[in-house]
């Protein structure tokens, strides 16, 4: 049993509206934490659209990596550096806003016209019922070297992330590093409460 044609259309409409609304929210909310959560909404709607395009593996990877890991990392980064500050409004901010409108509007017009003008080729091949098993077969036969190289790439990214995050390369003689460490390791709750 499969989803009927009309239901697919309605689902696509709802997903697109969700995605556009969440993307607008990411841009327009002043509170950056709301923006980060709405970015997760954009990723989830995108995963739904991948399912509608018969790409179930890509959809699962999208949810697992983007919603589960990347968005959490973004939220952690926001909560780490987050200091509530009262920003003063800039003088002549209308120049910046006008420039932003021009650049974004031009980009939108360019991309919109390209997507309308391009003669999209629609594949006539019957899509696969599930893409996971063919992907696995390709991984272990003709795409074996990229598959193993991916693990080396992950190893390199992990080592690089640990070196950058721990700042091992900073010599001990540099003063001031301890003070920044102290300011970044604030206790989450007052000590007298944690002891109880």
């Amino acid at each position: 049993m499969q989803i009927a044609e009309g239901v697919q259309l309605v689902t696509f409409g709802i997903l697109s509206l969700l995605m556009l609304g969440a993307a607008l929210g990411v841009v327009l909310f002043a509170n950056i934490v709301y923006s980060a959560f709405l970015l997760g909404g954009v990723f989830i709607s995108m995963a739904g659209i991948y399912i509608l395009l018969n790409a179930d593996f890509v959809s699962a990877a999208q949810i697992l990596v983007y919603v589960g890991a990347v968005n959490v990392l973004i939220l952690f980064a926001i909560m780490l550096v987050n200091k509530r500050e009262d920003f003063k409004p800039l003088k002549n901010s209308w120049i910046r806003q006008g420039m932003t409108v021009v650049v974004c509007g031009g980009l939108f017009a360019l991309l919109g016209s390209v997507s309308l003008v391009t003669p999209w080729k629609i594949s006539t091949v019957m899509p696969l019922a599930s893409s996971t098993v063919p992907i696995a077969k390709h991984f272990f036969t003709d795409f074996l070297l990229p598959f193993e190289l991916a693990s080396v790439l992950l190893l390199m990214s992990m080592v690089g992330a640990i070196i950058l995050a721990r700042r091992d390369f900073v010599p001990d003689t540099v003063t001031g590093i301890t003070s920044t460490q102290d300011s970044l390791t604030l206790p989450e709750r007052p000590r007298e409460l944690a002891g109880k």
Partner: protein
């Protein structure tokens, strides 16, 4: 053309999921008495008084765990098709996947030795 099987259950599940909070909130709005004192507006009614703001700065140590987690999350994505097609792939694919995991175990050992997994 949509060919994936079984996704109508997912659609029904999502619809039910999105109906539950709407129904729960609107039912409680219909049933509850209106008004109430200032206690109604506290964060935890008849609970502890919250201390400080809700928006605290996270400890930087969480970030190390999140970084290590991202790497192993991507590894999961690569191993998932292997797990799905395990019975059709045979011994050679098993050894190849073991090589893949072994390289990432090196990453885990490195993170461990560097103390990235410790709550110091």
């Amino acid at each position: 053309m949509f060919v994936l099987n079984g996704y109508e259950y997912l659609l029904g599940f999502l619809l039910t999921c999105s109906l539950v909070p709407i129904l729960a909130l609107s039912a409680s709005k219909l049933l509850r008495p209106s008004g109430g004192g200032p206690e109604r507006r506290t964060t935890y009614e008849s609970g502890m008084e919250p201390i400080g703001g809700a928006w605290i700065q996270f400890n930087i140590r969480y970030y190390m765990f999140a970084l290590v987690f991202v790497v192993f999350d991507v590894e999961t994505v690569f191993l998932y098709p292997w797990a799905v097609a395990f019975s059709q792939l045979g011994l050679l694919a098993f050894i190849e996947a073991l090589v893949f995991i072994a390289i990432l175990v090196i990453a885990l050992v490195y993170a461990w030795r560097k103390g990235a997994l410790e709550w110091s």
